[in-house]
Amino acid sequence: MREELPFYRRFLHRLGGLTRRQLRFTLMLVGASWGVVREASRPTSWRRTVIYEFKSTLRQSAGGGLFSTLFTAALTGFGIVAQAIYWLGIAGMADTTDSLLATVLVREIAPVLVGIILLGRSAMLSLTQLGQLTIGGELRALQAQGIDPFLTLVMPRALATMLASFTLGVVFSVIALSVGYGVCRLHAIITMPLWTFLYDIVGAMKPIDYIGIPLKLVLSGFLLSLATQLTGLDATRSDTLATLLPRGFARGIMVIMIVNVVLGVAVA
């Protein structure tokens, strides 16, 4: 039958198929995001099982990711903040230090690094768990008990990761700046008190940053969690962890980068 179609229709058929395949996951992500927002706004959604899952995910992602965040922030503070302060001082551009740190570290680096920490520590775990539940048929068993996996697992995990992303982002920024300050103070590169240093950086932030930075952290945590969970839920019988994990990782990184680039450009 298909051979009877003229060339241009076969071309359009292939093009349409390719477009639908490529857009499928994006559309799923948009639909699931709306689903989470809609379900979360209903008081009846917040049942004991949902609250339990929310708390345990928050503990796992924010509590469990805290040490990794502190360590990464300390390294960033040592490697980027201290170096920036030192070299800008040498170049006689010490006045631009505050705005540079606010722009580069707080607005650009913190959301990306926190997103990567969350991806590795929490989102991949979620992907593995949901993938195994889907492949093993346990999700079907949950449905048979009248428990909607989207409500009980996906929604609380996405919201908890979103909250964890914001929390860890703030912790990361404060620690990175503080460690950078400490290193410079130790070498007598700067002499001002810590509070003045932090106050100057806060002062160098534009009003739009007070929307843009939290929005980056919140959105990247939310979409990262949803993207990896949907990858797990979308697993088929032919999938194994060897196929799911790289797919989930690639989607997670893609989400972090797209959110940061788009918001970086849109809310600059």
């Binding site: 049942r47 539940l133 079907r140 449905q143 048979a144 009248g146 428990i147």
Partner: protein
């Protein structure tokens, strides 16, 4: 015995979508009244699971109707369908346990989700039920670390917890754990006296040999559909 005259479960020429269910695409009909028990012999556990899914409204239909407590699964709003499934107690063979949680949470999760009964009351009820089935208490180990016999007992605790209106039991008792038969039959009888409808699937119909309580019907689930079965006394 309940005075409710509407069927707990009714299949009216329900023709499942083959691609979704894996069940033979033929119309199924049955009527299960409160307190009634259907014993269904089925050699293939997967087929029994799929039929139980059909009864739980998890399988879309090409035609016909599947009703639970007088409510048509296909016409029911999604949230109400989830709530109605919360009134069904199930012993499942496929993917029954979630290893992310302990067995205790696996047992309690349905009641925690669908009811506002205080958690301690649920734990007390589940513990009492577990003891009646021969467990020392509510098991807290991961399901994968329990013995097969203990998992079968825990599955029964989960199914009978919360006074369900319909019980779909896939091989709840097998030859190797037949020691729990007395406790199982006691709970089954109590549930039926409360007006709960029961479908008991078994690969080993000889296990029903002594079970001849009033209101019990026997069927075979075959490729050709649901066939009445002669009672062997």
């Amino acid at each position: 015995m309940s005075d409710d005259l509407s069927a707990v479960l009714e299949l009216r020429e329900a023709l499942p979508v083959f691609e979704e269910s894996g069940l033979a695409s033929i119309p199924y009909s049955l009527r299960l009244m409160p307190g009634d028990c259907l014993l269904i012999a089925c050699r293939d556990p997967l087929r029994a699971t799929r039929f139980a899914d059909l009864c739980s409204g998890l399988t879309p239909l090409v035609s016909g109707h599947a009703l639970c407590l007088g409510l048509d699964w296909e016409k029911l709003a999604e949230t109400r369908a989830w709530a109605l499934r919360g009134r069904i107690g199930r012993v499942m063979q496929q993917g029954a346990w979630i290893d992310l949680f302990g067995t205790d949470l696996n047992i309690l999760v349905q009641q925690l989700h669908h009811t506002r009964t205080p958690t301690q009351d649920l734990v007390d009820e589940a513990t009492a039920l577990a003891r009646r089935f021969g467990l020392p208490g509510l098991p807290s180990l991961a399901p994968g670390r329990l013995s097969k016999a203990d998992r079968a007992k825990a599955a029964c605790v989960r199914a009978f917890l919360g006074e369900p209106r319909l019980l779909l039991l896939e091989d709840p008792v097998e030859q190797e754990n037949a020691d729990m038969m007395t406790a199982f039959l006691a709970e089954l009888t109590a549930a039926r006296e409360r007006g709960c409808g029961v479908i008991w699937f078994s690969r080993e119909p000889e296990l029903w040999h002594g079970y001849n309580a009033m209101g019990t019907q026997r069927f075979r689930l075959l490729d050709e559909g649901l066939m009445p079965m002669k009672q062997v006394v």
